[in-house]
Every structure is written in C-alpha cells, then in structure tokens.
Symmetry: C2
Subunit: 333 residues, 2 copies
Amino acid sequence: MAKQRITIEDVAREAGVSRQTVTRAMNGMAEISPTTRQRVLAAAEALGYRPSRFASNLASRRKSHAIGLVIASFRNPYYTELAAEVLDVATARGWQVVVCSREQGTDQELISTLAGQVDAILGYFVAADQASLAAAARGVPVVMFERTAAVPGLHSVDLDFEHGIETLLTELRARGASRFGLIESDAATDPNPYQPTQRRRAYEKLAGPGSLGSVVVAEESMRGGADGFQRLWNTSPGLDAVLVFNDLMAMGAVHGAHTLGVSIPDDVRVVGIDGLSLGSVTTPALSTLSIDRSAVANTAADIVDTLLEASDAGPRESIVRTVTPQPLWRESA
Amino acid sequence: MAKQRITIEDVAREAGVSRQTVTRAMNGMAEISPTTRQRVLAAAEALGYRPSRFASNLASRRKSHAIGLVIASFRNPYYTELAAEVLDVATARGWQVVVCSREQGTDQELISTLAGQVDAILGYFVAADQASLAAAARGVPVVMFERTAAVPGLHSVDLDFEHGIETLLTELRARGASRFGLIESDAATDPNPYQPTQRRRAYEKLAGPGSLGSVVVAEESMRGGADGFQRLWNTSPGLDAVLVFNDLMAMGAVHGAHTLGVSIPDDVRVVGIDGLSLGSVTTPALSTLSIDRSAVANTAADIVDTLLEASDAGPRESIVRTVTPQPLWRESA
DNA sequence: GACCTTTCCGTGAGCGTTCACGGGAGCGCT
DNA sequence: AGCGCTCCCGTGAACGCTCACGGAAAGGTC
C-alpha cells in the first residue's frame, strides 16, 4: 500500500462532489455556491490536498515563457547586479526568470534540473567539458557568460578582456605606473585544482613578462582581497600598481591597504574589474575595468530571442557575442 | 487553422518512428541506435520541437520540491545575502529555489505566477490587503518577511525592531549621543503614496518625541543616502547621531559626509540597519543594527517544513516567528 | 536449423488537472 | 401548464509526455 499522492479525485469523493467542482472551489471560479465551496475547501484542508502544478499547467496549456539564470554567487554584488539587469530585460519581454547559484550544485546538476523547468538557460558555467553541459541541457538552449561556446546547443556572451585590459594598462602606464602586481582569484573549476583565469592570462600577456612582478592567489571575497594585498605588499617591494581580479576583492584590498598604513594612490595604485557602483564608497574610490552588465544582459536576451523564435530554421550552430569592458577611473589609480 | 504546439507526435511522424523512440533520442536514453537518434534529433531540430516540461514532469511523476523567494531588489546586498542564506538552507534540504524580485510585478502578480511553479513562497510583500495575497496564492503557503501574518494561508518571520532599536538607542546614548536625526526610505506600498516604515515607527516611539529631531525621506540607494545626509545636515544643526533606514543608504551617508567634510564619528555618529559585511569597508566602518539573515532564512525554512510535512493536520492558522536584530558597533558610532 | 540473446523499436495505459459541453433544479412569467 | 431563464453541478475528453510492457529483427552458439 504505497503512500499515494492526494489527488483532486480524493477531495471530490471526500466532499461528495465532482472534480470540476473541486477545481472551481480551489481556483475561486464562479458557478459554485458558497456553501459547497466551503465544504470542498474544508475537505481539501482536511486531506492536506496540494494540487499538482504540472498537471494544472499542462491541462490549462499555459504558455509560461521562463528562463533560468545561474550566477556564480549571491554574495558578490557583480553577479546580483547582473541578475538585476537580466531580470529587467526579461520582464520587459514577458519572461519569467528563475535565478540559481552555482553553489547549489555542479554545472551539470544545475543545468539538468533547470532544463525541466525553463525554456532557456543563462549562466556562469565552468565545467571544462562543454559536451557534457549540452547533454545535460537535453535540448534546452544554454547561453554561457565569460566563455566561448564551442559545441552545438551552447551559445555565449564572452568578454573581450584582451582589448579591455590593453587600454586599461595603456592608460595606467600613462598615469605613471610600470611595475604591476596581481591579486588573482582562487576560483577553480571543480575537477582542476587551479588554473589561471581568463583575466590573469590577459594581464600576463599584455603586461609583458617583465612588468607583471608577482602574483598572489586569494579567496574571492573582501577578506581575501585584503589578505592578498598584505601578502603582495610584504613580499614584492617596488610595486606601483596592484591589479585585482574583481571589485569585491579590490575593495578589500583598498581597505587592507588603509589598515596597513599604505597610501593609495600615492604609494601604490589599485584597480579592480567589474565596475561596481559600491566601489565608489571606499576611500579612495576604486578605479576599475567596468563591465557593462546591461549590455551583457541584453545581448544574452537577444540570443535567447533568436533561439526561441526561430522554430523552423535548420540545425543551428553556436551563437557567440562579445562585450568589451572599459576602464572607469576613480581615485584609486 | 490555429498555430498548434509542436508535440512529440509531430516529431515522431516526421522521423518515421514512435513517440517512445523520440523520448529516447531527446533524453539520451539507451535502447536506440545512433543512426535513429541522429535522425530523430534532426527532425526535432527541423520542426523546432521543444518538449513541454509540464507534461514531462507530470508523466515522470517527478517530486521536485521547489520554493519561490521574492526579494525586494537585487541591487541591495541585504536582500541578495538573505537570498544566499535561503539558498543554502534550501539546498541542504533538497529544495530548489526560484528567486524573483518585487520589481518584476505587483505582489499579487508575483504570487500568482509563482503559485503555479512552486510548493511554497517566501518573500517581502508590501500589499496592505493580506486577504488578496492569500487568494492569489491559490492554496500555496506564503511566508512573509518583516511583517506579521494575519490571515489563514499566510505566515511570517517578523523582525522585532522595538527591542532591537531599544538596545541600540540605549547603547548609543551611553556613547554620548542624544539628538537624533533619521534618514527614512521612500519605499511605499504601491497604492499608498507614502507611509512610515516599521523601522521609522520604532525609532520615533523609542527615541521619544523630543530627541528625534528631524526626519528626511530619501531614495533607497547609496546616492539617496548621501543626498539625505546632506539635506539633514543642512537643515538640522545640532544633531549628534544620524540613524539610517538601511546599510546601503548609510554607506552612502558616510560617503556623503566625507565629501561634505563632516567628520564621523567626531562631528556626528552614523548608524545603519542590516549588518552588511560591506559596511566594514567605508571609512570609518559602519555601525549598524545587524539582522541575522541566517536565522531569518532558517526560521522561514522551518515554517515551510512544517507546512509541507503536515498534510493531515486540521485547518492550520498562521505561523508567526520573530527574530530580534542586534547592534553591531564599528567605527562610525 | 533450432534455440537463445541482444539490440532496437512500438503500443497501451496512465500522470492529475482543466476545458467544453450538457443537464437538472428552481424560479418567474404568460 | 408551458416556456425561458439563471444557477449549479457533473461527464467525457483532452493536455503532452513517460513507463512498463511486448515483440520483431539481427546475430551467436550448439
């Protein structure tokens, strides 16, 4: 005697009415007397009836355009502000958004469960094996951020750090900096212990072998940034600029410098990446390589639009778009 | 000739196979030859077939416990950090979370669409009419934050600002403050133009009519906080402490004071509400009435647990729990 | 060639709800 | 009585998919 689900039929029997009457009572529809409605609701309550949203949506053939969004973390404002932008454009187009965090599971798990709920998936995915991501999506299109899609079914909005960092370094040199240090994130793909990030590779390539003095790896948080700055400062004398993986860490670095008695930008310049508005409240305000979150969100939405509309096109390959970050100079550099 | 949905049957016909074979191809199951799989996938692609997640979930009778979370904004770290906590406890209990923002629609709209997707709804809802919220939920239990549930079907995790602010003011007075100003949020329920927030009412009640010198209303953002501070400072001389609606605004106020040349805490003390870790990077670091987001999230999860488990209990009334905020003293006060 | 095994594929029967009907009371009016 | 109307309520028939079968074809073994 398995523990069956309580269905609408059970409630109908309990209340001595038909299915349809239960539906009417539950959904507050017309064509039902107040007395019966009460009786049905009481029966439902007594049995602990909970309608199946799947059956309900199937039968009522609702068209709920929904997309899933997977961000790396809810504790870094960059991602949540990006989520806000995605929400804005999605709402404008009449979509519903389901937001998840990568902390909730592996890329494959997230994509797999999301695939059963939404029509398209956007997100930060780090798994090296793109084919397995596409497989987990079971036909639902996936748009990845800060990465280049390489297999069918996957698409991407990548960031052109090469160009962004090139202009950043040029302008930074024009301001007198020449010996750079880097605070790098310890974020790593699940299987790999550690591999250099796209940002670090761009920095190393463009700063040149000689000028990027030293690199420390730190936790991706304010505390990590402060900690990283301290390590960098103590081990590498002569630095005149510190490049930081992202703004959250850079804010920590600025704060850490303050407690160390290091003056910014006089002793050393600090630059983050992201363009958080929160970066303006540190003392001094944070300079940064700003990523246009609105552009990223809109580009992703356009891709999804293309994917959802074109239901008759032939086999479609990956769509890849690129957004170029721009330096945003404030006081710290 | 209506534009019908493309079903699995259409794909089967197109590929010259049966429904089941299409299922096998789409879901990467076994018992199918690579050749047919390719053919089916090609047919699906050609027709633009998109499986119905509702039908799929119904037929496979998956048990996907999902809860919805509605936060006020993705641009205020308090809410996103709370979301992070909710995600943590939910993931630990095997639930999926759907996060939405109140900026996406009215309370009723959000609850209504969410009700078709999840088993329970948590969120910040401001609509005055609780009965209409319960109606929109169509039987799906709702847990509200920072508010007291008063109708069946609604539950709540409220904050005890009375006690929290009482100890805050006591300790603030012990530090020498006596003439308070308040920067209040302009957030208002949709229909009402403006009504004092719970926080303001608590402040006014406990500070006493004489000591809460003046109140300014500002936008709920850093800019708003800076702006509010300036207005307050220019119009109300003699203040020795400024209480701010939340930490985001308070960070703006601290920054605004800095640009105004006002020294904190020497000229005036500043206190926020929320307990953001980001508050520690301002100069000086922000003092605040800290809300234990983890406790709030866990309490809400417990309520949901009770609601989802007890499927046999009698008619259940509102569950109301309370969390009390605690002062967190840093440099600004 | 008889038999078994493996591989591949198709058929009926639901999953739990809502929709489009149809129909029986009850009432008022001619 | 007869007619029409409103107010309730119930009965098939989907909705689009997956599950549990059953069975044909292909290959292997004695």
